[in-house]
Amino acid sequence: MEFKNLKLSKKTTFIIWVAIIALVIAAPTILPVFRLNLLGRYLSLAIVALGVDLIWGFTGLLSLGQGIFFALGGYCAAMYLQITSSSEFPNNIPEFFGLYGVDNLPFFWEPFRSPIFSLFAIWVIPALVAGMIGFLVFRNRIKGVYFSILTQAALLVFFNFFNGQQKLINGTNGLKTDVTQLFGQMVGSESMQRMFFWVTALLVIAAWFFAKWVVKGRFGNILIGIRDDEPRVRFTGYNPVIFKTIIFSIAGGLAGISGALYTVQSGIVSPQFMTVPFSIEMVIWVAVGGRGTLLGAILGAVFINYAKSLVSEALPASWMFIQGGLFILVVTALPEGVLGWIQGDGPRNLLQRFGLKRKIETYPSLEVNNKEGNNE
């Protein structure tokens, strides 16, 4: 797999951000609440995609198990909501426990009575789990395809565990959040959903700034160094294990935040968040948007998912074909993703091919040199 380093020009980034912010501001007024809620969900997926871009696009770690951390964040949020809304149920514990004859709250639910603990748990727990898994894997120098397989195996372990634990976390049914209460309102109510949309939009922007800060400067350069030539980084005196653990942990934390936001907007968290296809889709969003661009991850996550819901409404069952086709298109024709293609003069080349635009008259090499000169 060839990685090129894409630096989006300031102009492109600016245009895209103006479009995103205009969309976010306009959306609550022009979209019905059902659509707004969908958009909010997809925006929350952009945060997990940013994490995937950090570990894959920048550091070269293709994780197929981000669903673990996404679901953990979702469960943390749902456990808090369930337990604070359980006063009218027998034993003051969430209703589902009654179905399985559980009278006492399992010990690990206790800390989720605290809103502050829960607010931290949403990102700290997934980050810690990611850090632990990452450290063990990276210390043993497992990389490439083996790393991907291992993360997928871990995903399946988590999926099966959560699926089977009815008495602890309601197993395959998951935890519902839409009928729970937050700030004296139903989480599923329209006003709450509108608020979640704003929170999500702000957090996407915050996550982007955070990711940008992580990859800029020398820390980001080491990540790119690890991606392109890990032994060389090692012989220069850096310990790649620590760097990879940190970035994997950051991606885990972002996935947790994303999962929590997704949960409160879709009304339920269940082991379905940890299915294999869903984690692979996260990678596809980033691949289509453009690896190593950060902005591409956000656009990929939002547009692909929005397209998915529109297409599925119009032509049920056709989405899988479209998604598959999209992935094949990106792998064969747009290896740098859509943003990478735009940045790499893709549109002009396409127009030239159809004779709609004149060819460049200078030598290609001169053109390249000019471009570099302009970037300085």
Binding site: N5, G217, N221, D228, P231, V233, F235, T236, P240
Partner: protein, 249 residues
């Protein structure tokens, strides 16, 4: 072994599933020495570097560097102790600019916290400027390292090696693919580095080795065949048989 020695390799044996890449190799390096290592293909030159830098663990034997054993230490720890390595084909970070490459090498401490929290120190920036002037890359500061010519890449990697400020520099085939003029400049550069640094140069190019004007160790079949100045080894019969007498070099 005496305490003026920077590096001692004692009876190093490396066995790859029975094949002896190194066989009871002994080699001592004094502080400030410039040493050339030559040998035919498969003599174990690169394995010899792999053992010192921790990439390969010797089956038997000891590596003593500044009085400490290096055997069993991780690569990055050995690098931090002061062993720097330049690879055979230029290994630079092609997606980063020349300056970013050098930043990676001069940065200390090499911890994530330092990298993410603090900006680069002024003296390190000055060091980068100095290095770029030495290797004639000052005009390419912000170019992607991948866009450099082969010779420039070799030099950038040498600059990165120097920037690490290692006590021991291991340089593997620094002039492969360079023009004659570049080769001469590289020889002068390496000579100027020794004295303050200890430099080991591995190469095939006899003219280049001659220009280094240093002690030469000849490796053959994983062991040191002969050591001495270029003149001595050229007269050594064993060396002529295995290496110099060959038609291709």
């Amino acid at each position: 072994m005496n305490n003026k020695d920077l590096l001692n390799l004692i009876d190093i044996t490396v066995s790859f599933e029975g094949f002896l890449a190194l066989n009871k190799l002994n080699l001592n390096l004094k502080k400030g020495e410039l040493r050339a290592v030559i040998g035919p293909n498969g003599a174990g030159k690169t394995t010899f570097l792999d053992v010192i830098t921790g990439k390969v663990k010797p089956t038997k034997g000891e590596v003593i560097f500044k009085g400490k054993s290096l055997v069993g230490r991780k690569e990055h720890k050995i690098a931090r102790l002061g062993v720097g390595r330049k690879f055979q084909s230029p290994r630079i970070f092609e997606n980063l600019t020349v300056k970013e490459n050098l930043e990676i090498s001069v940065t200390t401490p090499k911890s994530p916290l330092n990298l993410i929290n603090k900006s680069i120190k002024d003296e390190q920036l000055n060091e980068i400027d100095r290095l770029m002037k030495i290797v004639n890359l000052a005009q390419k500061v912000d170019s992607k390292a991948g866009s450099l010519s082969h010779g420039q890449k070799q030099w950038l990697e040498i600059a990165m090696l120097v920037g690490q400020k290692p006590d021991l520099m291991l340089v593997d085939e620094p002039v492969a693919g360079l023009t004659d003029e570049e080769t001469d400049l590289t020889a002068d550069l390496l000579k100027s580095l020794s004295g303050e640094n200890t430099v080991v140069v591995i190469d095939h190019d006899m003219e280049f080795i001659r220009r280094l004007d240093s002690n030469v160790s000849v490796l053959n079949q994983g062991t040191v065949l002969c050591e001495g100045t270029m003149e001595t080894i050229q007269k050594d019969k064993k060396v002529i048989d295995v290496y110099l007498g060959r038609p291709e070099d």
